[in-house]
Symmetry: C2
Subunit: 225 residues, 2 copies
């Protein structure tokens, strides 16, 4: 989508930033860790969420807002695992906070430990939209090539963690784990890196423990807000 920047856009941007900050603080106070999952189409966001729910097996209360341009295919896949609300953008290439907040009102009212937002499959536009998340996690699958961070720098610069997904396919593809990590860390030196395969369960325990750790830190912060 193309944008013609005019003066009024600045105020809109400032308003949006402020709204996201207010919403994030509310999540912090209630102890809900909000995770915005971003990636190319088909990198495995939905499978990761299924594997996460299976690993926790009810020990953590989680819910998900699922963004798609059309269809409710991902929501159908996730419904057996957790409360889910489909957000259909009707063509738009990213989720926005307003849509997320409307979706949130349609989830059962529970104090979730984790709220996941599965963004539109797009390594570009979602990088520019704050959805009030505490963490942005970017998935890059072994089949996409190890050159992606440098080619889509804003997404990696604004993410706190990179998950290398589809680890089971590593023997069959020209992909260097070391190279993709080096590329990502050139852009964002502090980025947390984990390696997972949702289908076999590899790395899921590490991922879930990391999430839990992040939430414990949030609780400490929330108590002082």
């Amino acid at each position: 989508m193309s944008t013609r920047t005019i003066q009024v856009d600045r105020d809109i941007a400032a308003d949006r930033k402020q709204a996201a900050q207010v919403a994030r603080e509310q999540f912090t106070r209630q102890g809900t860790l909000v995770v915005n999952l971003v990636s190319s189409p088909g990198a495995g966001k939905t499978s990761l969420l299924q594997a996460t729910a299976e690993y926790w097996n009810g020990r953590q209360r989680m819910a998900v807002l699922v963004g798609d341009i059309a269809t409710n295919r991902d929501a159908e896949r996730l419904a057996p695992y957790m409360p889910v609300k489909q957000l259909t953008t009707g063509g738009a290439c990213h989720l926005e906070l307003e849509l997320v907040q409307r979706g949130l009102k349609q989830l059962p009212e529970v104090d979730y430990e984790f709220l996941f937002i599965e963004n539109i499959g797009n390594l570009v536009c979602p990088a520019s939209h704050d959805l009030a998340e505490h963490l942005r996690v970017v998935l890059v699958s072994t089949t996409e090539g190890d050159d992606k961070p440098g080619k889509y720098p804003k997404m990696f610069r604004t993410s706190q963690a990179m998950l290398i997904s589809k680890l089971d396919l590593l023997p069959y593809v020209p992909f260097s784990v070391a190279a993709v990590i080096e590329d990502a860390r050139t852009i964002q030196g502090d980025i947390e890196v984990m390696q997972v395969c949702a289908l076999t369960g590899t790395g899921i325990e590490t991922w879930c423990e990391w999430l839990d750790q992040q939430r414990q830190q949030l609780l400490v912060k929330g108590a002082s807000v």
Copy 2:
């Protein structure tokens, strides 16, 4: 990127459509088939072009304009095979005609049989931009999942061909060739479907012959323009 539609946009859209049509007719008259390659990040557009050049081995004159948000990695990969000009969008999520036309002026002045435009890896935004191409070809890799056409319908509705790429990984992934074809044809009944693996060369002959056939039809049309 977000758009606020205001009246002036209509005229811009009409002007752009007209400019694309004029440029396309010029390409038709000179017998250059213009192919806009679109896909998710890492679906194999660059590898397909390398395999295409290897197959033709100088029998067809081809050139490529390569779109990227940042870096010139794809251009470097293609430079040994054909004249190439990198188009760096500096953050924008798609290519536009003006950028394509500027790039074209920097290619050696030759009557190419084929001009390829390798678009930004993004299944959403590039669907809305006419780059004066004769053919839009969408790649969907076997590792992305067979549910992609329905989830990104505009891209498949506006493409004349779908290439199922990374066919060599089919034994290792949950992907049904029949399902992805059915899904694409629900959206665009006439879409041409080919199956390729750029690394092994599978399907490259069929793809190149199809391209040649498309160009022959263009020449007939060009003679009557």
